[in-house]
């Protein structure tokens, strides 16, 4: 399975992009500081809102801050929020969904009620209110809020999948041997949900990054923290679009779009592996088919 995952070009593209941004988030700030000698917060009064140049590769902001250094620091902020929110959301989805699906009955009714409650809650306004109360608590709190409000859909999917797995004969068989419920869930049921959980995690990761960017754009963010969202928000507040300072807001926007595309590509690839009907023809197959078509056409032409 892993080798066939890698041989799928969509998955390979997605994995490379995600790995690149992960590395950028982990090592980037250190690299920009030590190699390029840039500080994302330093204000260079001599270069205010200047376009890309040899000195500032991606130009500077209205405040004379280097955009490249900000972009790299923002990658750390955005990825941190995305990963933490996805971890929290996925964990909650597993706890609620799998438990409800496995045990059924009253447990299912209660947990499913909570899930539905979180599903119909107007999440965005709620996030506004909650983060309004917790103003200035940093990226940590933003990630927790996004995770806590974003698990319901995943829990539903996992509940449905668990329902179908738990009644399979092999679960009954192991239960008959005397396996305990926690072990049955962890060892017999969960391995069948790994694909779902992995794609849910990727979805939650990109969802978390987008939500953070959205919240930052609307002004709900830690003003001291740097993320792609807060960069776009700063650009917006200084009317960068009207003033043509494209180098300020295009790079963070592109990064968000790129990582979103990457996550989607990985999910498509996983879908294709699970369902061969979705698989596109490889270039080799297309070429071979064309050659056959040409040969047939030539033969017909020759006959006529």
């Amino acid at each position: 399975m892993p080798s066939s995952l890698w041989s799928n070009p969509k998955v390979r593209f997605g994995l490379v992009v995600v790995a690149f941004f992960t590395l950028l988030a982990v090592l980037g700030p250190w690299l920009t500081a030590s190699v390029l000698g840039l500080d994302p917060r330093a204000n260079d009064i001599s270069a205010i809102a200047s376009p890309p140049s040899a000195e500032h590769w991606l130009g500077t902001t209205q405040f004379g801050q280097d955009v490249l250094a900000q972009l790299v620091a923002g990658a750390r902020g955005s990825m941190f929020v995305g990963v933490l929110a996805a971890l929290i959301g996925t964990a909650l989805a597993i706890v609620f969904g799998v438990t409800a699906g496995y045990f059924g009955g009253t447990v299912d009714n209660v947990l499913n009620f909570v899930t539905n409650l979180f599903m119909v809650m107007p999440v965005l306004p709620l996030i506004f209110i909650v983060s309004g109360y917790l103003r200035g608590t940093g990226l940590w709190m933003i990630a927790v809020i996004i995770g806590v409000f974003g698990w319901a859909g995943g829990a539903r999917t996992l509940r449905a999948q668990t329902l179908s797995v738990r009644n399979r004969d092999f679960v009954l068989g192991m239960r008959m041997l005397g396996e305990s419920h926690p072990r049955l869930i962890a060892v017999e049921v969960l391995p069948h949900l790994v694909g779902w959980i992995a794609s849910m995690f990727l979805g939650a990761l990109i969802g978390g990054i987008l939500a953070e960017a959205g919240l930052a754009f609307l002004g709900i963010s830690d003003s001291g923290a740097i993320s792609w969202g807060s960069m776009i928000q700063a650009a917006q507040s200084q009317s960068a679009v009207l003033r043509g300072l494209w180098w300020w807001f295009v790079p963070p926007g592109l990064c968000i779009a790129l990582i979103g595309t990457a996550a989607a590509m990985i999910n498509f690839g996983v879908d294709e592996l699970a369902n061969p009907k979705l698989r596109a023809g490889t270039r080799r197959v297309v070429r071979r088919t064309r050659r056959v078509e040409r040969a047939v056409a030539a033969a017909e032409g020759g006959a006529a």
Partner: protein, 352 residues
Amino acid sequence: MSTAPVLSAVDVTKHFVVRGAVGDSAVVRAVENASVDLHAGRIVAVVGESGSGKTTLARMLARFYDPTAGEIRLDGVSVSGRPTRAYHQDVQLIFQDPFGSLNPVHRVRHNLDRALRIHDRRMSAAERRRRAVELLERVSLTPGEDFLDKFPHELSGGQRQRVVIARALAVGPKVLLGDEPISMLDVSIRLEMLNLLDRLRREDGLALLYITHDIASARYVCDDVIVMYAGEMVEGGPKDEVIARPAHPYTKLLVESSPDPDRVGTVSRDELFDDAEALGEPPSLIEPPEGCRFHPRCPFAMERCRSEAPPRTDVGGGHWARCWLHQEGRAHEIGESTFAAALTRRDEQVRA
């Protein structure tokens, strides 16, 4: 038969409530007043067509369902309310589908190892491995070492079913319940599986319940046969008695429907059942027929069969049946002609 049964079901009944979309509900009477005794070293076969309640009976005996009425007794003690975990150390169920009863993500070793570990927590890893190999060889997977690290998809249906049996044996049960254990296997390996069950019964003294719709395989392996129809037990007794001299019209239909090399040439099957529709369908278990549940399909049906359920009649030698023919002194009619002939005669009478 003088020994006490290891496991018995006493007048067990199972009703399932099914709820419709608009809030109405119906009761499916899956099993009614079924009794069965399993003795050490004996195989009891439960025979019947799809929907006759065989599997429900097996699942009640395995305590996946609680009976609506009646009780299950292990070594003479009622098990209701007692923990299922201890119960399953004595009673194990073999599922019908060998492709579904092994988790595709785990190796054979995992299945046996867990079973042994749960059964005896003090057993060392080396000891468990030795026992696992022994168990695999017990079910004729030799050399056992080679099978330990295989995944289910690397095994054939017959091999999987052997692993399932080995897993069940790992906890050292007294009773094995086989829910159509061979129906999903290739015909060529069914006989080997039956021989394996027979060996377990003879050498280990296991009590076996063998559920099947195939009366020929029941005849091959079992000691006693019980015939179920529409959730009720209609006839039972030693296999030769029941199969050679059916005392219930339904058993007669079952026996005549199964291919029998001895009968080839004497009566053509096409002739016997040229009009399959005339044989009818098993009834709905939501609204079963009044009286004897078989009466709509029975060529011998009388007025009484339509209103009153027949009592159990002993016909000698441990052989019993629930049919009014025995009470009315018409029992000899069952053996006089084939089921199809009786059916044709009835239809002619109706027309005349």
